[in-house]
Amino acid sequence: MTATAEPSPLLEVRGVSKYFGNVIALKDISLAVAPGEVTCVLGDNGAGKSSFIKILSGVHQHDEGEVLVEGDPVRFKSPRDARERGIATVFQDLATVPLMSVWRNFFLGSEPTVGKGPLRRIDVGFAQQTMREEMRKMGIDVRDPDQPVGTLSGGERQAVSIARAVYFGAKVLILDEPTSALGVKQSGVVLRYVVQARERGLGVIFITHNPHHAYPVGDRFVILNRGKLMGDWRRGAIDRDELVKKMSGGAELDQLTHELERQLEAPEAR
């Protein structure tokens, strides 16, 4: 997994910038995702993570720079466009329909059918069986395919989205804050899926504001701050504490600690 020879990138971003009117959302971002590699994109709120994912997933278009898929320069017009090139994005809470069953969610939008003309119908048996197999590969035994997704845990719901993306041929998986709404245990579950996706040869872009979630699974860490790239480290080139520090803007954190200490001391002095 942490190969010494750099594998060729599935998705590459070169000097990408994005402007919203006179606001610079992203400036000169470069990044590469190789198969079997997890690239963690870290950043605080407002760092430009969302704009970045939206460019990669086809929701927005970049204003400057290049996006390359397996070496070809591309410009995604829609999320569908991106998906067709093998870039699948799992949006945090906008990925599944809670009242629909697991298998219906799994195949939603790409339902397998049998029969012709007016008798064309969903191949329910195939859909249920495939969903079960794919979920099993992620380590989840779906006890009842007709169970609504809403009754699954948060982590399991992320797993449905991930398994679906993998099944439909995603080469690059973009996970948008998959752990932010989850508890500690569930976050661990999702991190396991991230590792599983990597081991199946996918390139994963894992967007998070939590360095403690990024550190155990990442092969590469990229920090965004105020729309700019603050650094790009391979695993081993940076340790956890340093990552945390870098992410929260090192000096700023020291400053904050200092200020807080002063404030806490102040009342006693009075």
């Binding site: 195949f107 939603l108 380590g139 035994d141 006890r143 007709d146 009754t151 699954l152 569930q186």
Partner: protein
Amino acid sequence: MMDAGRGSPGTAAAPAGAAPAGAAPAPEPVADERLANIGLGARLMRRPEVGSLLGALVICAFFWVTTEAFGTLSGIANWTDVASTLGIMAVAVALLMIGGEFDLSAGVMTGTTGLLMGLLTTEWGLSMWPAIALTFGFAAAVGFVNGYIVVKTKLPSFIVTLATFFVLQGINLGVTKAITGTVRVSGLGAVPGYDSAANLLSSTFSSYNFRISVIWWIAITALATWVLARTRFGNWIFAVGGDANASRNVGVPVARVKVALFMTTSTCAALVGIMIALRLSSVQAGQGIGEEFTYIIAAVVGGCLLTGGYGSAIGASLGALIVGMAFIGIQFSGWNTDWRFLFLGVILLLAVLVNNLVRHRAEGARR
């Protein structure tokens, strides 16, 4: 009579007594001890139409026992007749509601289409079948406009179709008065092609006068059930009503599905409007007004959530059956028929309470 199709998608509540899902990270597939919990009872209870089935049985039994006429074949012909036209609309409205939208113009539309067909034939000299074809075309166009406005403006369909409702109500009265000088269009029986059209759409069969509309009702319920449970389009109906954003993200054509549903509703309204016009061989300008709420009540009684994404066609049909049985049952009991509104209010409230419970169970263990 209507359990023809197996139902809508998995819409289950968590099997009673299942381990809370959030507590089980389950990284390795284990032979699952929770599997045993999904018995036949639980499977039945998770279906959206269970409540309406029980309700229908209770009401049927009540009037069957308390009145003499209710259980006779001609009595049955009577209440299935009321339920049939109501049921056709309830099914269409249920599909639309599952898709997350309302159509308040559905009731008045039955009047508009009946009047249009009447005017086309009696005033403008068309024979029956071309008039019927034009009427369907007109209805589909109105449905398209409803849907298009809702999808484009993202305004609540409640408001958009309320506007359509009043526009059509005004047109119905205004145009009818302007052309015929009265508030009705009559004389359809003399139009060429009336007999064949009436035969297909408004005749009766057997000596107890069962209406042909009952057959249409059952057929449409079966078709809608099949569409919901087994076709891609059906899957998309649940999806756009359940979460339009998530659906869009996975490539479901949300706008097209919604517009198609509005068109289905208005086309069904045309079918019912034509049926009623043919049956009476005349149309009142006020036909259908107020009915839209009865359709929605039937759909809700049948398990459709007001918030969309959940419901069934069979349920909506059972809801219509309940309303039909109650209307006729009240009449047979010799009570004042005005009491039926009280009845509608009560079953609506009961149904919404039950549905709320179902929804909480289905969405339950979110963590």
